[in-house]
């Protein structure tokens, strides 16, 4: 494991796969994960256009590498927390695609049976401990899960994903401070896609690197990684998770990435300069990774097979979700309380 965790943005040079710390199996897993995320998000986008998804949704198209990189690095019993832009983090931990698509469409087969929606995807059996729609709220919660693991002595790790805008809210600072003081096994991962929502993050942040430049305030090392390079993300993730598991405390990682679509369904993203969008689209992580794996000598047939399998699975999931009935109405007044009910009186 590389001891130097401070790295700047760099294009990844061709690596020698045989001597590589990551290995083919992991890389294929990284590829599969990204591709699956891409395909599901693409389907979600299509469903918008057909008005089968109501309300709003925040897609992670373009940010697959961060999801895959950490998803593969985590242990099955680790905890992850993400924001309302969390489909990729949910899928990357192995949650059901049918469940994700069904939830978006308010179907009974949804992960939450239609009770939570796009912004609250959860799959506790996979360690996905909620997607959170209030900026910053889940950082202290993730710290709490880490505290629980530390208290119970299980060496589980808590990984918390959030955007660049989160670094300016109070809960971010409270969580980082507490995690550092208590040396909690939590990895804070900032997906810096350069835009707070519609506003360039640079316009509203006192420092250049919204997450990394705050690390020092909490006694942590600044870590910046190319968020579109799954290998770089994976390595960084591994190192931070191992540090946490070893009891050495939290990390704060800033992943530079970019979203392909607007902030949400309602947003065409017209506030981003055309040249910027085009430059980032050239660095689309999914095709970029396929090319790299080819360069490493992995057969096209292998990669195509993976893609075919994923496509089939995604298609099947979509069909299942589309034919699933809407959420049963008797779900309305259940599961407010542990006893399954919702009663406030006798």
């Amino acid at each position: 494991m590389s001891g130097d965790l401070a790295a700047d943005v760099a294009s990844t040079a061709t690596n020698d796969l045989a001597n590589d710390d990551i290995g083919e199996e992991t890389r294929l897993a990284l590829f599969r994960s990204q591709f699956e995320i891409r395909q599901v998000e693409q389907k979600a986008y299509d469903l918008f256009l057909r008005n089968l998804i109501k309300g709003t949704s925040h897609l992670a198209l373009g940010q697959e590498a961060v999801g895959a990189g950490f998803g593969v690095a985590m242990r099955a019993d680790d905890y992850s927390f993400c924001t309302y832009r969390g489909h990729h983090h949910t899928l990357a931990r192995g949650a059901s695609m049918t469940g994700v698509l069904g939830e978006l469409m308010g179907r009974d087969c949804g992960l939450l049976r239609g009770k939570g929606g796009s912004m609250h995807l959860t799959s506790a059996e996979h360690g996905v401990m909620g997607s959170y729609a209030i900026i910053g709220a889940h950082l202290p919660i993730a710290a709490g899960a880490a505290w629980s693991a530390q208290y119970r002595g299980t060496d589980q790790v808590s990984v918390c994903f959030f955007g660049d805008g989160t670094t300016n809210i109070g809960a971010f600072h409270e969580a980082l401070n507490l995690a550092s003081v208590w040396k909690l096994p939590v990895v804070f991962v900032c997906e810096n896609n350069l835009y707070m929502e519609y506003t360039p993050i640079g316009d509203v942040t006192a420092v250049e690197h919204p997450a990394a430049d705050r690390a020092g305030g909490y006694g942590l090392d600044p870590i910046i990684v190319d968020g579109n390079d799954p290998d770089a993300v994976y390595r960084t993730a591994q190192a931070a998770i191992a540090r946490a598991r070893a009891g050495d405390g939290p990390s704060l990682i800033e992943c530079k990435t970019y979203r392909h679509s607007g902030h949400s369904r309602a947003d065409p993203g017209a506030y981003r300069p055309k040249e910027e969008v085009e430059a980032w689209l050239k660095r689309d992580p999914v095709p970029m990774y396929r090319r790299r794996l080819s360069d490493f000598g992995i057969a096209d047939a292998v990669l195509s097979t993976i893609q075919d399998e994923v496509n089939k699975a995604v298609e099947a999931a979509l069909q299942t979700a589309m034919t699933s009935p809407p959420s049963a109405t008797d779900l309305l007044e259940i599961n407010v309380w542990a006893d399954g009910g919702a009663s406030w009186r006798n």
């Binding site: 202290p140 880490a146 259940i334």
Partner: protein, 325 residues
Amino acid sequence: MAELTYREAVAAGIAQEMARDDRVVFLGEDVAAAGGVFKATVGLLDQFGPLRVRDTPISEQAILGAAMGAAMTGLRPIAEIMFSDFLAVCWDMVANQIAKSRYMTNGQLECPLVIRTANGGGSRFGAQHSQSVENWAMAVPGIKVVAPSNAADVKGLLAAAVRDPDPVLFFEHKLLYPTKGEVPDGEHVDELGTARVLRRGDDVTILALAAMVPRALSAAERLKDEDGVSATVVDVRSLVPLDTQTILAEVSRTGRAVTVEENPRLCGWGAEIASLIADELFYDLDGPVVRITTPHIPLPSADHLEDLAMPSIDRIVATIRARVD
């Protein structure tokens, strides 16, 4: 039976539960080494050690967030928010996160935690440290809300709250901390969602909560002596779940209901109960439901002004005298 102060009963309740269940942990500001700013948690650090009893920074959102994360992953945390007014600082955690996680995830996530806080006025701490905000909590679906009036109930209801698999907001009252009461020896566990009838009468039913309960009892005594009016006094104890059966039965017996609420007038807890009575007991009412509350103002600091604002025994007696014939 032992005589404990209300504040001693807090520590006793926490200790009882922490001794029973290793998953119970306790965090808050100045709660461990200092034993709490109200000295309600003295001795716990010594008894259970620094891994289970933790002092936090001044970070209300982190305190409740950490409690939630721990509760979601197998622990049974008790978190202290020093003054209930500070719930406003971390209200996102209470109302948006803790209250809603089980419902939004259709049961995948749970929050078996207790938030204890010091509520209420009368201590001359000024508007931002004297509020009674249990009615705020009552208004958010997904949290249980309890406010004990005496030492025995503190211990018993705190134990019940810790054992409850749902999130519970436990409102202690600053004025009541020094009050003494008989507390049963040994393990004492009460039941959430239950009210207590403390006194039975025929002419009017007084519903009260927390620090207003002793005032209601004193008022009932005076009304008996001075006016021959006999009053039932119900200690509501639990706002969510609400013991509507007891409340409605006691109001139906007398045909008259009066609430004594420390909340400012609008949307105090009694408003909901008055609405319930109007809906379900309309044809049993021998007169209007009367609410005795603090006026709709922030609480002033000067002692005589604060006393004027909060329902006093005199005001309770005078109001019942004037409105119940």
